[in-house]
């Protein structure tokens, strides 16, 4: 039949009718994802801006409050997210190469690392609740103020903790959404939906996961490492 003038195209079942071909579909999806991430950058920039202004104004309170955050747990959590970014990058590769079992394993690993991050974050928040460092009626930093080498104002410290909870809270919410997305990905991958011809969802949810990792890469030094020098 090779001399037939009619070429019969075999459609990838994942190709939607409004796209000419798989490449166009993939480029459109990727562009859309990057635009969404640009809006996410602007969303987080608002909080980073509020942080910068108050840190500039109330530096002493920010520096002293920062030392009450759990540095070992924060560092471990940063490492956990970096490991999850590696498993995401490897999972995109596994999908490209059509290695279904490896893909499912890596997606499950990513999910577990995401849940470990949220668990550790929960432990850290619990500490803050126990210490009355949560802004609101029971907020109390008198102990922190007593141990501080410099005089600090409790109301200003409350602004640091408000920003701490707003920023880590929004980040944790993004992690929870990410866990949801990756649960769906794992299910689809298990069903064999992804392979060398179609792996766009793995790639684009991967971009989302890396973005959330990058937000944490900035949150970690800005919140935990303001002033970790030994007291003089």
């Amino acid at each position: 039949m090779s001399d037939s003038p009619v070429t019969i195209e075999t459609h990838n079942p994942a190709l939607q009718h409004h796209f000419a071909d798989m490449e166009q579909q993939r480029n459109a999806a990727s562009f859309g994802m990057w635009l969404f991430l640009a809006t996410e950058i602007m969303f987080f920039s608002g909080m980073f801006c509020a942080y910068l202004v108050y840190r500039y104004w109330y530096f002493n309170e920010f520096a002293v409050s920062s030392t009450t955050l759990n540095l070992p747990l924060g560092t471990v959590n940063t490492a956990v997210l970096i490991c999850s970014s590696l498993t995401v990058a490897l999972s995109v590769q596994a999908a490209q190469q059509g290695k279904r079992k490896l893909l499912v394993t890596l997606l499950v690993l990513t999910l577990l690392l995401g849940l470990v991050f949220l668990g550790i974050k929960g432990v850290e928040w619990k500490e803050k609740f126990d210490e009355h460092h949560v802004p609101g009626y029971s907020f109390d930093v008198s102990k922190m103020a007593k141990e501080s080498p410099i005089p600090i104002d409790g109301q200003r410290a409350q602004i640091f903790f408000s920003l701490y909870f707003a920023m880590t809270g929004m980040h944790a919410l993004h992690m929870i959404v990410g866990v949801g997305l990756f649960t769906w990905l794992t299910y689809r991958a298990w069903k064999g939906a992804f392979g060398p011809g179609y792996y766009t969802p793995v790639e684009n949810f991967g971009l989302y996961w890396h973005f959330v990792d990058i937000v944490w890469i900035y949150l970690f030094p800005l919140l935990y490492l303001i002033d970790r020098k030994p007291l003089h």
């Binding site: 490449e23 993939r26 480029n27 990727s30 562009f31 990057w34 635009l35 991430l37 640009a38 950058i41 602007m42 920039s45 608002g46 980073f48 801006c49 910068l52 202004v53 500039y56 104004w57 109330y58 540095l71 560092t75 940063t78 490492a79 970096i82 490991c83 970014s85 590696l86 995401v88 990058a89 490897l90 590769q93 490209q96 190469q97 104002d153 109301q155 200003r156 991967g206 971009l207 890396h210 973005f211 990792d213 990058i214 890469i217 900035y218 970690f220 030094p221 800005l222 935990y224 490492l225 303001i226 002033d227 970790r228 020098k229 030994p230």
Partner: protein, 98 residues
């Protein structure tokens, strides 16, 4: 669109680099560098973020120029917000000061 596959070795190398930088930034914060502490911490964070974007997010390998335009625009808007806000607020007295 190039279906670029990056070697796993490179991914592992990037992963190790990111972990090392995480330990370095936590350690260097305990050394008194004066105002340089903040600059060093942000510089390390920026190196980490750049490496994630270029390699894990494949921006180094993409043939799609629009992706780079979107990223550059997003960074530009962010800097616009942060810098213009700071030029204003740093010249105001903090609330609660005389």
């Amino acid at each position: 669109m190039s279906e670029h596959t990056v070697s796993s070795k490179l991914y592992y190398a990037i992963w190790i680099l990111l972990l090392v930088l995480t330990v370095v930034t936590a350690w260097i914060a305990t050394i008194d560098l004066g105002p340089l502490n903040t600059i060093v911490a942000l510089a390390i964070a920026t190196v980490k973020a750049t490496v994630v974007v270029l390699f894990f997010m494949h921006v180094k390998y993409t043939s799609e120029k629009m992706t780079k335009v979107v990223i550059a625009s997003a960074i530009f808007w962010m800097l616009l917000l942060l810098m213009l806000s700071l030029t204003d607020y740093t010249w105001r007295l903090a609330p609660g000061t005389n």
